[in-house]
């Protein structure tokens, strides 16, 4: 008898519709107001994403205040890297006592963004920056060096520099 009544009276459907109706009403009330707190999604290309401070993005070489590259070629990052994406060539430079990286090659297509290299670096000379827009048209553009046609180890990638929000204003 109880199960028959349950079949007859659609309480389960009513409960489900009530829940979806609650959210539907909420969206209707708040959709076009600038109350970001209640929004679940973010309007990504128009509004830049807020990343956490520890976000692991693309590898970047750092320079000190004089504009000198901090890296002293200890090769710790090259050794710890699980996918062997870093190649460093040691060299000398006029007026610098410490070794200087003549070549610092980074194969981004194979990088897995694990941050082991940054962890192993004893001189804080590399970081993973907050870039995640790393697309390129050619395969060669993923091999990043000290100077590159498309992007290099110091600057942001062209995709990251491009902003939809700025273009909309133009």
């Amino acid at each position: 008898m109880a199960s028959f009544l349950r079949t007859l009276i659609p309480l389960d459907i009513y409960g489900g519709m009530k829940l979806t109706g609650k959210y539907f009403g909420k969206v209707l009330r708040e959709a076009n107001r600038a109350r970001i707190r209640t929004h679940v999604v973010c309007e990504y290309p128009e509004v830049p994403v807020k990343l956490q401070p520890r976000f692991r993005g693309r590898l970047t070489l750092l320079k000190d205040e004089q504009g000198e590259i901090k890296c002293i070629c200890c090769l710790a990052c090259e050794k710890i890297c699980p996918t062997q994406v870093i190649t460093i060539e040691k060299g000398k430079k006029e007026g610098r006592k410490l070794p200087y990286p003549v070549r610092y090659d980074f194969e981004m297509e194979r990088c897995i963004f694990c941050e082991f290299c940054v962890e192993s670096c004893g001189f804080d000379s590399i970081i993973l920056n907050h870039q995640f827009e790393l697309a390129a048209y050619n395969r060669e553009d993923f091999s990043i060096g000290m100077e590159g046609r498309f992007q290099n180890m110091f600057e942001l990638s062209p995709v990251a520099r491009y902003s939809v929000a700025e273009e909309a204003q133009r």
């Binding site: 389960d12 520890r54 692991r56 963004f113």
Partner: protein
């Protein structure tokens, strides 16, 4: 009479079809060869190997530290638990004592990952069976967990969260608040999933009594995790062989006696609640102190072997290491992947049932193909 005549005119025969490997309901690249008699499954053969990357072989050539990044890519919806298994296995092999605070943070993150994994399971399983709304609700709540992972270690899915000997860094300043906010949202969120599904008549028609796997068969096949507990066997590695901070936590093992798809759904929901309880306890009782033990820069093993297992969201996840003398990397590494073992139950669950229930059976096993093929 008409049926009889039809039988005379049209010959019936068994038909063999492929479900997958590109079918959206097989959760990846699982291929299931089905022999059908009408709509009834006569024989069911899962065929795997489309996502094989050779993780076990790769890890033989990587140091004890480096191998962890490959565990992220095995069960990619529960990467933190995979990291936990690797880190604890290696620590067991070298006899490293991890600080108590690190244990607590590890437990916290692993339980959050269990909730995330079960939410993804519920979302996709409900979507397979035909409930679209739950998918959106689950993904909304799961996002908060991924944000917590991003705050802690910098990545959302391929976390590489732990280090051998503890943690890389202490928890970030705002994480405490993030976790508390998530727990508050989750307590209402799980009520919403239940409102949408538990009493829903379509959901019950599709799950109650479907894809049964009795306790006897489950134990014989080596099934672990929620599938075993839904058959009434209260086996949980967290209770049986407690690692990390599980020995100090107060939680219950969720079991159900019915052994069908609906029971597995209820068990997973209850597990999510228990996980939320553990997270709350970790957060309240988080001890002060260091998070990293003193370990040498290069780990060199002796001749040894170690098996360490933890409770992953899918079941018992075991790591087996063999070390050689002076080895900076494992001589042999083997993973007892829960999804791989659980998939063996698929023929038992589906043979003799309808074709539509195969989808429910694959969903309820909660298989992740990255872990099966490795």
């Amino acid at each position: 009479m008409f049926v009889f005549l039809e039988f005379l005119v049209f010959k019936t025969e068994e038909m063999e079809i492929n479900l997958g490997p590109q079918h959206p309901s097989t959760h990846g690249v699982l291929r299931v060869k089905l022999r059908l008699d009408g709509e009834t499954v006569v024989q069911c053969t899962p065929i795997i190997g489309y996502l094989h990357r050779g993780v076990e072989k790769i890890c033989e050539n990587k140091t004890w530290f480096q191998g962890q990044v490959w565990t992220d890519r095995m069960d990619y919806v529960a990467a933190v638990t995979n990291n936990l298994g690797w880190a604890e296995g290696v620590e067991k092999l070298f006899g490293i004592q991890v600080p108590r605070r690190a244990h607590y943070v590890r437990t916290l993150l692993a339980e959050l990952n269990r909730i995330a994994s079960h939410q993804l399971w519920l979302a996709t399983h409900a979507l397979d069976i035909g409930a679209m709304t739950v998918f959106l609700y689950c993904f909304r709540d799961r996002e908060a967990i991924l944000d917590i992972f991003e705050a802690f270690c910098g990545a959302r899915l391929t976390t590489t969260a732990f280090r051998i000997g503890g943690l890389r860094e202490d928890v970030p300043p705002g994480m405490d608040r993030m976790v508390r906010n998530f727990l508050k949202a989750f307590s209402t969120g799980i009520e919403e999933y239940e409102t949408l599904l538990s009493e829903n008549r379509i959901w019950k028609k599709r799950t109650v009594g479907v894809a049964k796997l009795q306790a006897k068969d489950a134990v014989a096949l080596g099934i672990t995790g929620p599938v075993l507990r839904a058959a009434g066997v209260p086996y949980d590695v967290r209770k049986a062989f407690p690692s990390a901070a599980y020995a100090e936590m107060d939680f219950q093992i969720a079991t159900r006696p019915e052994a069908d798809t609906y029971a597995r759904y209820l068990v997973r929901l209850e597990e999510m609640r228990q996980s939320a309880r553990i997270v709350q306890q970790c957060l309240d009782g988080l001890p002060e102190g260091p998070v990293m033990a003193k370990i040498p820069k290069i780990l060199k093993s002796e001749v040894c072997e170690v098996y360490h297992s933890i409770e992953a969201p899918k079941g018992e996840l075991g790591y087996y290491f063999v070390g050689e003398k002076g080895g900076a990397n494992p001589y042999r590494m083997h993973v007892r992947a829960p999804s791989f073992v659980n998939l063996q139950a698929l023929p038992k669950m589906t043979e003799g049932n309808l074709l539509a229930d195969v989808i429910a059976a694959i969903g309820t096993l909660d298989v992740v193909l990255g872990e099966i093929d490795r």
